[in-house]
């Protein structure tokens, strides 16, 4: 009934509700659009991710050679995966996708066999991570302890960009290693070869996030507005009733102090209060229960909310006028 009462109270204030809808709509729009020179520009909330794998191989591939172990290459893969987070490597990758290295953020692999306390970032590492949290172009690498592969995961505002970024990271590693080998004069038989295991594939990660965010903001703001409307109504009522009580006290100083709960202040003088507005006078009804006890009183229609309803028969009872009728 309390819930129904609140809803009914809100329904009686259509203009306030309309304002609430308007405010909530503006808040929802601003959560997914930004104002740019007087025009609305969509925020880049949605993003895509892509993934590809590279294998760290030798000139004669170990994939088909049972006599060659994976372990030495696996160790290299681990080193490469960590190296791929370096600024110089990110510059190489960035150039391939039309970005600068500073626009990219990359995170290296984690050794899952280490104790958690070793994996957790120190304050210095966390400083670096925090600076990259707002960058939309992101790379992360995974490498397993005994496998010579590196999984490259990328994230970008669009799927095409994410795919391009992952492919650029794979290509960047290939060219970086090849260039390094040429500069060092490594003989072809001793060279490491980076092979990409198929092109990157990607998709949108959080399709509809803008809509759900806007909906969430709309609902929250509207609910907050409704609560404000209800509270304002209660306050306004209490304010008016306190004015009536004060004036009664001034007229009859011997009657004592203010009522304990101003919300349901009862004139209770056997006659209608004269100093209230017409709207409030209209809300006062004859209290049948108290009249039966020979205590005529006039109570606010909304006295249903009076907390004193529980306190037994030691005080005149506030009565919901509509229920009596």
């Amino acid at each position: 009934m309390e819930l129904a009462y609140a809803l009914r109270t809100l329904a009686q204030r259509p203009r306030a509700l309309a304002v609430g809808v308007l405010i909530a709509a503006v808040a929802a729009i601003l959560s997914v659009y930004s104002l740019n020179g007087g025009k609305l520009k969509a925020r880049s909330l949605q993003h895509s991710s892509a993934s590809t794998q590279v294998i760290v191989d030798s000139q004669k591939s170990v994939l088909g050679n049972a006599t060659q172990p994976f372990e030495p290459l696996a160790q290299r893969a681990w080193v490469y995966a960590n190296f791929m987070t370096s600024p110089s490597f990110l510059d190489v990758v960035g150039k391939q996708v039309g970005l600068t290295g500073a626009q990219l953020y990359a995170a290296g692999p984690v050794n899952v066999n280490e104790p958690r306390s070793e994996q957790e970032p120190t304050d210095l590492k966390r400083n670096v991570q925090i600076t990259g949290e707002t960058k939309p172009y992101r790379l992360s690498y995974e490498a397993q302890e005994k496998l010579p592969t590196i999984t490259i995961n990328s994230q970008a505002p669009t799927t095409a960009q994410a795919v391009a970024l992952a492919n650029a990271a794979a290509g960047g590693l290939q060219s970086y290693v090849a260039t390094s080998e040429s500069e060092e004069g490594i003989t072809p038989g001793s060279r490491v070869v980076i092979r990409q295991l198929g092109p990157a594939s990607g998709a949108v990660v959080d399709g509809g996030i803008s809509k759900s965010l806007a909906a969430m903001v709309f609902v929250l703001v509207f609910v907050l507005w409704c609560i404000l409307v209800l509270l304002a109504g209660r306050f306004r009522r209490a304010w008016r009733e306190s004015a009536v009580a004060l004036s009664d006290q001034t007229d009859n100083p011997r009657e004592g102090n203010l009522p304990e709960h101003s919300e349901a202040a009862e004139p209770n003088h056997g006659e209608r209060p004269e100093r209230v507005g017409a709207r409030q006078v209209g809300a006062y009804e004859r209290d049948g229960a108290d009249a039966s006890r020979g205590e005529p009183s006039y109570l606010p229609q909304r006295a249903l909310l009076d907390t004193r309803a529980v306190r037994g028969g030691d005080r005149p009872a506030p009565v919901p006028a509509r229920s009596v009728r």
């Binding site: 129904a4 306390s117 990660v205 969430m216 229920s323």
Partner: protein, 465 residues
């Protein structure tokens, strides 16, 4: 007033009002079913843990059985705790929405939504308790809570001695048609490098700390009854319950099991110094003997100060402060967003052994203050009631406020909000504190009954329930 006469007849468990029974069933689930390890076989649209379904049932029951008939808003009960919880919720929402683009970029938004659903569940439980229970129900409800905790303690002591986790094993058997229960993490002989070589006893939870928290939050209810006991039988029964709870808590091998009861005793001493001093000598002996009998060796392990100081747990705790500094400096006001800490990503997120640090991290300093105020608000509400010695509300308010103090201390010892059972217990106990502090005058007559009765022209007080 004729109210008390009627009230005595209609008080939990001697009541036909359905809502207190729904709450009792929820608590039974909390104390006996490993909710975090149980996955329902049905998809309910949210996480498939049984507590989520139970919360939905609570909401439906609240609507169906007229929970809003005793609407909390129009009771004289203090609104301090509810408003503090609302403020915390508002700050949590603000911390997420005001930094939504960054959080979405880090793929943490969906996780935060789940965490909000969980926070909503906690709030629903508190709201349900506030509207379902009357002051007269509290005594029976406190007995019920003690009973649940005693049964849980017995189960944990069996687990400690035999390695058989009755909650997981029975739960798996009974719930097999509708749910799957994971294997219990119980381990009486762990390798030295796992969990610091500590015995793992978890009861109906997934971590010994969660089980310990549940027990220490019920302890003040038993302790107050020991203090207030008017008969020898009552004294011994409640002391036995207290000893069982202490034994089971210590059986988990967690320092929390000693520190929180100590804090509780200090808190109780503040209000009842003479009574506490009177029972202290005998109580301490009973405590030590029963804990030793229940969990041999556990007390010695916990009291090994040298080991504690050099343990990796202590070292990690010290590291929490320095390693969290960059995040706190980056988002000092509202944090990095409520629910955006992902424990499954150790390379980004450390597990802080302190809920207050987590709050600073997630919701900033404003969120931290709101969180602390939310925990302490019930104790502030309870203070005047506790001071009114001799009133029926005083003891109940003291016991329930003790539960809040237990949670306050617990939050400084580990990330308590990460274990579902601990916050559920807090929000329940906070609601009980609010009800107890208001006393019988906090009750409210159901509006529909009041309207019916007034329409029939009967005197109002006679039908007050």
């Amino acid at each position: 007033m004729t109210q008390p006469v009627t009230a005595q007849r209609d008080a939990f468990p001697h009541t036909k009002r359905p809502l207190p029974w729904f709450l009792a069933a929820f608590l039974a689930m909390l104390f006996f079913i490993p909710i975090d390890a149980t996955e329902l076989k049905v998809n309910i649209g949210v996480d498939s843990h049984p507590d989520r379904l139970a919360v939905i049932v609570l909401v439906l029951a609240w609507v169906w059985f007229g929970g809003d008939q005793r609407a909390f808003v129009r009771t004289p009960r203090s609104k301090l705790f509810v408003s503090a919880a609302c403020v915390f919720l508002a700050i949590a929402v603000a911390s997420l929405l005001l930094d939504a683009p960054r959080i979405i970029n880090l793929n943490d938004f969906q996780l935060a939504e789940k965490r909000f659903a969980l926070l909503g569940s906690f709030l629903v439980l508190a709201w349900f308790a506030l509207t379902a229970l009357r002051f007269e129900d509290l005594r029976g409800f406190a007995s019920y809570l003690i009973g649940l905790a005693v049964l849980m303690s017995i189960g944990m002591l069996v687990e400690r001695h035999t390695g058989y986790n009755v909650f997981y094993e029975l739960g798996r058997t009974i719930l097999s048609p509708i749910a799957t229960v994971a294997k219990s993490p119980t381990d009486l002989h762990p390798p030295v490098n796992v969990e610091e070589g500590r015995t793992i006893v978890v009861g109906p939870t997934q971590h010994g700390l969660a089980a310990t928290t549940m027990l220490v939050m019920v302890m003040p209810f038993a302790l107050v009854r020991v203090i207030d006991a008017t008969s020898r039988k009552s004294w011994w029964l409640n002391m036995a319950a207290l000893a069982l709870m202490a034994g089971a808590a210590v059986a988990t091998g967690r320092k929390t099991a000693l520190l929180v009861p100590l804090a509780l005793v200090i808190y109780m001493t503040f209000y009842r110094p003479r009574q506490i001093m009177r029972i202290a000598p005998l109580g301490l002996v009973i405590f030590i003997v029963s804990v030793h009998l229940a969990s041999p060796g556990a007390l010695g392990t916990l009291l090994n100060v040298g080991n504690d100081a050099s343990s990796s747990s202590t070292g990690h705790r010290v590291g929490d402060f320095t390693d969290l500094k960059p995040d706190v400096l980056a988002h000092p006001v509202l944090g990095r967003g409520y629910g955006t800490i992902v424990p499954d990503e150790p390379r980004t997120f450390r597990i802080n052994d302190d809920q207050y640090l987590d709050e600073v991290w997630e919701t900033g300093f404003i969120g931290l203050f709101a969180f602390i105020w939310m925990i302490l608000a019930p104790t502030v509400i309870a203070h005047p009631a506790i001071r009114k010695r001799g009133s029926p509300a005083a003891s109940l308010a003291l016991a329930a406020a003790g539960g809040c103090i237990a949670f306050f201390v617990v939050c400084a010892l580990f990330d308590s909000m990460s274990f579902t059972e601990a916050p559920y217990m807090f929000f329940l106990v906070a609601a009980l504190t609010t009800i107890a502090a208001a006393g019988p005058e906090g009750n409210v007559q159901p509006t529909r009954a009041l309207a019916r009765q007034l329409a029939s022209g009967r005197p109002r007080a006679a039908a007050a329930t």
